[in-house]
Amino acid sequence: MNFAGDITVVAPRDAVFKALSDAPFFASCIEGVRNLEAIDATHFSAILETHVAYLRFKFKAEVELTQLSPPELIEAKVEGTPFGIVGRLTAITTTRLSETSGQTTIHYSVDATITGKLGSMGQPVLKAKAKDMEKHFTERLVAAFAIGGRGTAH
């Protein structure tokens, strides 16, 4: 599963980079993330709990920031294990930032693979959900910077 897109926020690139590489802030932009814990500077764990209609999905996720090159590149690896069902979610995310006149464009791409039962039969639903999450993420991110700086949206 691949997603890619651009999000433009009204903020300088440095500020955006700082915000995106701050785990609690980043997590706050994703619907359903809780129990975020920092294992060390580049390793985090969290619970992702989400749903599509009455179908519930709960993952234990481990995130590793594999590359931080301020102010332009953030790469992360995500590994998730679903609760109560055999499977595995892996994702590699690449985020590049570019700036034009006080606005920053976030170019993101996500390459995700789901294995196990969810991966064998659940692809259409998961794709729809992922698109939904993409939309929410964009809205929250834009809103966070619109209000007047990072960390003001939760």
């Binding site: 009455y54 039969m121 729809a128």
Partner: protein, 290 residues
């Protein structure tokens, strides 16, 4: 599959009372054809299923009113709808659509209420019902309401129903001079889910389109009215120049999802082609085969 409780209430009121609005692991089950697939996939593990089987008598009738409105009880199996002479008279497009809907074994068991509540965007009936202007009656714990099918279906498997509401009836308004068609475009086996569904209901006066509803499904996250295309077509003569323009608008306006049945680019082409074909077919003189 883990064991679950199966309860079989005798009345609608009892059934609604048994569904805990705060517990997503309790669900109503009608024919069960779609719910079983969710359970087999392991994405839904119920603790309790509330069977609506015993409501079949009360909610399984097909009637038409004096002014030609068609009413179908939510627990009516799809084959009953397929073979009903009332339905054939009021909305022949439904009977035609049924012939390729899933397969006869599924149609014997699945119900219209269950199909609408399931809200899989690939299904054949929802775009047809939206094109016909259909609406549903919904019963809650202490109230009833109604809404159009278009408003009922809100997303992938998502509906506007509260967790403890049940659809009781489907109503299809009289179609008058409107002619409706449905194209199920499959990419693989003829029996596959469609890569694209397109329903059109048109009132034509000669070559001119007096009113039109165009609905795309399967390639989108829910069945969607192609409102920009409808606006471009309304009041126009349905000639090839206009149809091409309308088709291009339709192809651009829908938010197409790629999947194993087709890339977004390909589905967009299908939408372009079948918008034009659907309008042409709906403008054919009454009785022409489709």
């Amino acid at each position: 599959m883990t064991p679950f409780d199966l309860v079989e209430p005798a009345s609608l009121k009892e059934a609604i009372a048994l569904i805990d609005p705060d517990d997503p692991d309790v669900r109503p089950i009608a024919g069960g054809t779609a719910l079983m697939l969710m359970m087999k996939a392991g994405v839904f593990r119920p603790t309790r299923l509330v069977s609506l089987r015993r409501l079949r008598n009360g909610l399984g009738q097909i009637t038409s009113t004096m002014d030609g409105e068609l009413k179908i009880g939510a627990m009516t199996p799809l084959t009953a709808i397929e073979h009903s002479s009332e339905v054939k008279r009021a909305a022949p497009v439904i009977a035609r659509t049924m012939r390729r809907l899933a397969n006869v074994r599924v149609r014997n068991v699945a119900t219209i209420g269950g199909a609408l509540a399931h809200a899989d965007p690939h299904m054949d009936l929802p775009p047809v019902l939206i094109a016909l202007g259909a609406s549903v009656s919904i019963a809650g714990i202490s109230s009833e309401r109604s809404m159009t099918v278009e408003d009922l279906l809100t997303g992938y498997y998502e509906t506007a129903l509260a967790k403890n509401e049940l659809i009781t009836e489907l109503r299809i308004p009289t179609q008058g001079n409107s002619q409706a068609v449905y194209f199920k475009v499959t990419a693989g086996s003829v029996d596959d889910w469609p890569a694209l569904g397109l329903a059109a209901a048109i009132v034509g006066e000669g070559d001119t389109v007096r009113s039109v509803r165009l609905v795309v499904s399967a390639a989108t996250s829910k069945p969607m009215r192609l409102t920009a295309a409808e606006r471009a077509l309304n009041g126009q003569i349905a000639n090839e120049v206009h149809l091409k323009r309308v088709a291009d608008i339709a192809a651009e306006e829908a938010d197409i999802i790629a999947d194993i049945r087709g890339s977004a680019s390909y589905k967009r082409e299908l939408l372009r082609v079948f918008t034009a074909r659907a309008v042409r077919a709906a403008m054919e003189p009454r009785g022409a085969p489709h």
